[in-house]
């Protein structure tokens, strides 16, 4: 296959089709999760990344299985992009023993170390130092690995962000700090919570190059991530990427979104839907047709339905599981 879409990573048409398919996985997985929550089929809480599919899929696609990621409470997309199986993820949400975390973690803690996924995290900003530690391992072990630390805009006001960026910079660690600026930390508009126009400016305080990109533009995501990864691999240290995006849904399942207008939401859904934008890009490049796109969507919908079937068929943990794995024996 050819290379119809210009990009710095040298991705082929097939690569972009693969990414597009991953974006559908993320969209449809989270839509299904929302439905299941509303139907009372799964409990707890969940944070959906609908509207943010390009950041996860575009950046995650550039990673090898041996590369690491750390993720956030809004992390289903990152896990899917890092090739954690949707079957196991769904089983985790159903609290099944064959879930990614044997049913012990749930939505906010999905991890899959075999795939290089160090886990999503319920504590805002906690992933920064952990990612730095993983990158430190890579450097000390002389391994050609890169860590992507996914985080949200709100987390850049946590002390851990500043401590970790500084540490990563002085030790020139192979880590990419990837901020998905979806513009709201729960209900708080990031514009009211920082007094700078771009979060990427914060990199300068630590001697880290910062870039702000359109996070719903798949090529921009691929290009920026590729450059950051290459830099990290060459031992030239971390990069701070701020990818501007928007979460179409509320913070969590109980959010009525009274802090933003329906007009604003409609504007983003109409003009900045990463799936629509990517589809358009691929069709214009001549590597996708509307029919093929619909086929991909239908295929991925089926895959998500299969994940639900897989999850429902999974066994529940035995009562003894309560006491297992508190400590490594």
């Amino acid at each position: 296959m050819g290379q119809s879409i210009q990009n710095k990573a040298g991705l082929t048409d097939q690569d972009f089709l693969n990414i597009y398919q991953k974006m559908w996985d993320i969209r449809l997985f989270d839509e299904k999760v929302e439905t299941l929550f509303l139907a009372g089929k799964i409990h707890g809480t969940t944070h959906l990344s609908i509207g943010q599919e390009a950041t996860a899929a575009g950046s995650g696609y550039l990673l090898r299985p041996t590369d690491w990621i750390t993720s956030t409470h809004r992390g289903h997309g990152h896990s899917i992009a890092k090739n954690t199986e949707m079957n196991q993820m769904m089983a985790e949400l159903f609290g099944r023993e064959n879930g990614t975390n044997n049913g012990k973690g749930g939505s906010m803690h999905i991890a899959d170390l075999d795939k290089g996924n160090l886990g999503s995290n319920g504590i805002v900003g906690a992933g920064y130092p952990i990612a730095v530690g993983a990158a430190l391992s890579s450097q000390m072990q002389g391994k050609d690995q890169v860590t992507i630390c996914y985080a949200g805009d709100g987390s850049t006001n946590e002390g851990s962000f500043h401590e970790a960026l500084n540490l990563a910079s002085i030790w020139q660690l192979p880590v990419v700090f990837f901020i998905e600026n979806n513009q709201y930390g729960m209900s708080s508009s990031i514009k009211e919570m920082v007094n700078i126009p771009h979060l990427s400016e914060r990199g300068a305080a630590y001697g880290i190059e910062g870039v702000t990109i359109d996070g719903n533009d798949i090529v921009a995501v691929v290009d920026a991530t590729y450059q950051a990864i290459e830099k990290a691999k060459k031992g030239r240290g971390p990069t701070l990427i701020e990818a501007k995006t928007y979460r179409f849904k509320g913070h969590s399942k109980s959010d009525q979104r009274i802090y933003r207008t329906r007009e604003e939401e409609l504007h983003w859904e109409t003009n900045h839907d990463p799936l629509q934008l990517t589809e358009k890009l691929l069709i214009q490049a001549g590597i996708l047709t509307k029919e093929a796109s619909q086929q991909i969507e239908a295929n991925r919908k089926e895959a998500v339905e299969q994940a639900v079937i897989f999850a429902e068929a999974g066994t529940l943990p035995a009562a003894s599981a309560l006491y297992e794995n508190v400590y490594v024996d």
Binding site: N101, H109, A111, G122, I130, S137, A164, L167, N325, Y327
Partner: protein, 326 residues
């Protein structure tokens, strides 16, 4: 007899672990040429270089968190918190991350790290540099908590901590650093969850931790002169706790005194007392269980007030006498 200080014992364990295992490394504030806040890492950067003895910025959250991330990915980090009070600014990584990851991930990841830190009062360092907060970590499932009182125990327990696959909180006491004792050359380990009977006796059981072990031993000497036989038990590890040894002792003596420097209120002494009260050791009790611990005040600066804030030899002795009256 190979006499070494407690501080030297810690240093030797670190040295031997660095020499033995490539995945072991140290990180913390001033642990390089300065040798660490109290000198525990002296000479190590010269021997192992700045890649394995990593002096860090003053960033406790990043230090602890980097240790978590490194531990999850194949390394064995040992980080130093200069004063145990500073755990307050590292606590998310210790409590919400390190302690929970193995369980929360269904056993598919482990976090083999050691936090070394200096606790306790007696140095005039006042309220923010003198606390004994070990019980905070003992409350958290997933952490192991070690509190050595002697040079021998410090070295052996630190080796065990470094080999352990779990996050281990290693509390050193500042006033123990200069104490001397027999420390064998080379590596040896002391299993966790095995209390050490520092003094055998038949009339009163004192369970003491950290610096209080030494005070309890003085009391045992004094009591001996008064014809009272005191047994002193040092649990050495709060988690896992060797409650069996304590209960066995109580069955023998019928009297229990628990002493720690940490504030008595909601302290670990309450846990020990409860476990004994809940056991069949209860029936052996000739007197109600007694606890001594720090006063429920922030640690004051002035030396006399500072002394008064924690149990002294005289307080422990009085408690023993009062137990004997019943």
């Amino acid at each position: 007899m190979r006499e070494r200080t407690y501080l030297e014992a810690v240093n030797e364990a670190l040295d031997e672990a660095l020499a033995e295992d490539e995945s072991v490394f140290l990180l913390g504030e001033d642990i390089g040429v300065y040798g660490g806040g109290f000198g525990a890492t002296k000479g190590l950067i010269e021997k192992y270089g700045n890649k394995r003895v990593r002096a860090t910025p003053i960033s406790e959250s990043a230090i602890a968190g980097a240790a978590v991330g490194a531990a999850m990915t194949g390394m064995r980090p040992i980080f130093e918190l200069q004063f145990s009070d500073f755990i307050t600014i590292a606590l998310d990584q210790i409590v919400n991350q390190a302690a929970k990851i193995h369980y929360m991930y269904g056993g598919k990841a482990s976090v083999p790290l050691v936090m070394r830190t200096a606790g306790g009062s007696g140095t005039g360092a006042a309220a923010q540099h003198s606390q004994s907060l070990e019980n905070w970590t003992a409350h958290i499932p997933g952490l192991k908590v070690v509190q050595p009182s002697t040079p021998y125990d410090a070295k052996g327990l630190l080796h065990t901590a470094i080999e352990d696959q779990n996050p281990v909180m290693f509390y050193e006491h500042k006033l123990c650093y200069k104490m001397t004792g027999d420390v064998p050359a080379g590596k040896y380990t002391i299993p966790f969850g095995v209390a050490d009977i520092k003094q055998t006796g038949t009339d009163v059981t004192i369970v003491a931790t950290g610096i209080m072990v030494h005070k309890a031993l003085k009391v045992a000497e004094q009591a001996q002169e008064a014809g009272i036989s005191v047994e002193v038990i040092d649990p050495r590890t709060l988690v896992p706790l060797d409650i069996e040894t304590i209960i066995t002792s109580v069955k023998k003596t019928g009297r229990l005194l628990v002493v720690h420097e940490a504030v008595k209120r909601s302290g670990f002494g309450g846990e020990v007392a409860s476990l004994v009260a809940e056991s069949d050791g209860f029936y052996a009790l000739k007197a109600p269980i007694k606890r001594l611990g720090g006063e429920a005040v922030p640690m004051p600066y002035q030396p006399q007030l500072e002394q008064n804030a924690i149990p002294q030899v005289s307080n422990i002795y009085e408690a023993v006498l009062s137990l004997m009256k019943q």
